[in-house]
């Protein structure tokens, strides 16, 4: 796929950064994609699609700190691969069975939680919730930006973010964490 962009590049460094990502991460991305798709051609398609998405959101991707870049690319690749898998299988997005409280969870809630307990509870979350929390709160992407990078519809990203926060809160409450 050839993608046409309208872009202005400041320096030669920027011109080669995209190629650096390709050379540095393509094997990792392929391994992640193959782990989801178990098909060589599909895995290559997922890697290619991920690079297209990264190119489309280049400014955002280029602002990810170097120390977080590998994790960022892994998450984007995995979700792109999952999206490709679902498209191939024509599966609809399965929403969780979590009861939908009409009240959104304020992120202030998590600021009052014991840090170690928060870390442990995060570690126990399902992968899809971890991914969306990572992209929304660590990379500070909007739902639309996550949608553009992963192919997951923006509304799904929003709902999944809310469900992730609710599940995290519920898990903390069930652990007996009392918020002061």
């Amino acid at each position: 796929m050839i993608t046409v962009f309208i872009a202005a590049l400041e320096t030669e460094y920027e011109r080669s950064l995209f190629e650096q990502w390709y050379l540095r991460y393509r094997q990792t991305m392929y391994a992640v994609a193959y782990g989801v798709l178990h098909n060589r051609e599909d895995a290559e398609d997922a890697v290619h699609q991920t690079f297209i998405n990264l190119a489309e959101k280049y400014e955002k991707a280029a602002s990810v700190p170097e120390s977080e870049m590998k994790a960022f690319i892994i998450v984007i690749t995995r979700n792109t691969a999952i999206n490709l898998y679902r498209r191939n299988k024509r599966e609809a997005e399965q929403l969780t069975t979590l009861e939908d409280d009409s009240e959104p969870v304020e992120t202030d809630f998590f600021e009052q939680i014991d840090y170690e307990m928060l870390v442990q509870t995060i570690a126990a979350l399902p992968k899809k919730y971890k991914d969306v929390l990572f992209l929304r709160f660590v990379q500070e992407l909007s739902a639309k930006e996550v949608a553009e990078l992963t192919g997951i519809p923006a509304e799904t990203v929003r709902k999944r973010t809310e469900r992730a926060k609710k599940l995290l809160k519920l898990s903390l409450e069930r652990s007996g964490i009392i918020v002061s």
């Binding site: 050839i2 190629e19 391994a31 193959y34 290559e44 190119a55 929390l133």
Partner: protein
């Protein structure tokens, strides 16, 4: 609304977890088709199509995104747009519209006859970029902030996402075949057409008259 602790906890938990989650596999030998597509994408990404200076005088990256909007000058119903691009399959998306040849299968797999731009550019223009492969020939002319891109693709390779935000679509034919011709919201004209064997794509931020003169000058190399 603060989420510093949440952000810290997510970073410290998930970054190492993600990095350790990659399955251990032998290095993969990517297919030639993949390498070719990636090479083209990297070259495209590394090209600066044209530099835009915003009102603050800074260079900006303009990545447009919205659905196609019809111009008052050439009102076409949605069905008419889709029918107008008989030689192309156009999928309108939120960020770009994806354009592919409707039937790439019987076309040459490699570029056997090359097209060239014969327009007499004035002395201020220079060739800024040139690339040739079996499946893609690309040339860029530049003069200051004015840029002219011309690409020739095999049909199998061509699969473009084009900036159609607020685009003014213009009915146009090339050698009797309907082409995709529009003015984008950044002041550039796009012309994509199928000559039967290849896909040709001209993109330039010049006035319409000059653009069409350049388009008319594109011919098969002798």
């Amino acid at each position: 609304m603060s989420h510093e602790q949440l952000k810290k906890a997510l970073s410290e938990t998930l970054i190492p977890e993600y990095e350790q989650s990659v399955p251990e596999t032998a290095p993969h030998e990517f297919s030639p088709a993949f390498e070719k597509k990636m090479k083209a994408l990297i070259r495209r990404r590394e090209k600066s199509y044209y530099r835009f200076v915003n009102t603050a005088g800074k260079r900006v990256a303009c990545v447009a995104g919205a659905v196609l909007v019809l111009s008052a000058l050439s009102v076409m119903k949605a069905d008419a747009i889709k029918n107008a691009f008989r030689d192309f399959s156009v999928q309108f998306r939120n960020v770009f519209s994806t354009v592919r040849p409707a039937d790439p299968h019987d076309a040459p797999k490699t570029i056997e006859e090359k097209y060239v731009v014969t327009y007499p550019f004035d002395e201020g223009y220079q060739i800024d970029y040139q690339y040739e492969s079996d499946t893609l020939c690309s040339i860029t002319y530049r003069k200051g902030d004015t840029t002219v891109f011309f690409d020739q693709y095999t049909k199998e390779l061509f699969d473009a996402d084009v900036n159609t935000e607020d685009a003014e679509m213009i009915p146009y034919t090339v050698d009797g075949r309907e082409a995709i011709f529009f003015l984008d919201n950044l002041g550039a004209y796009h012309l994509i057409w199928d000559d039967g064997d290849y896909i040709l794509y001209l993109l330039a931020n010049v006035d319409k008259e000059t653009f069409l003169e350049i388009a008319d000058s594109i011919k098969k190399a002798e």
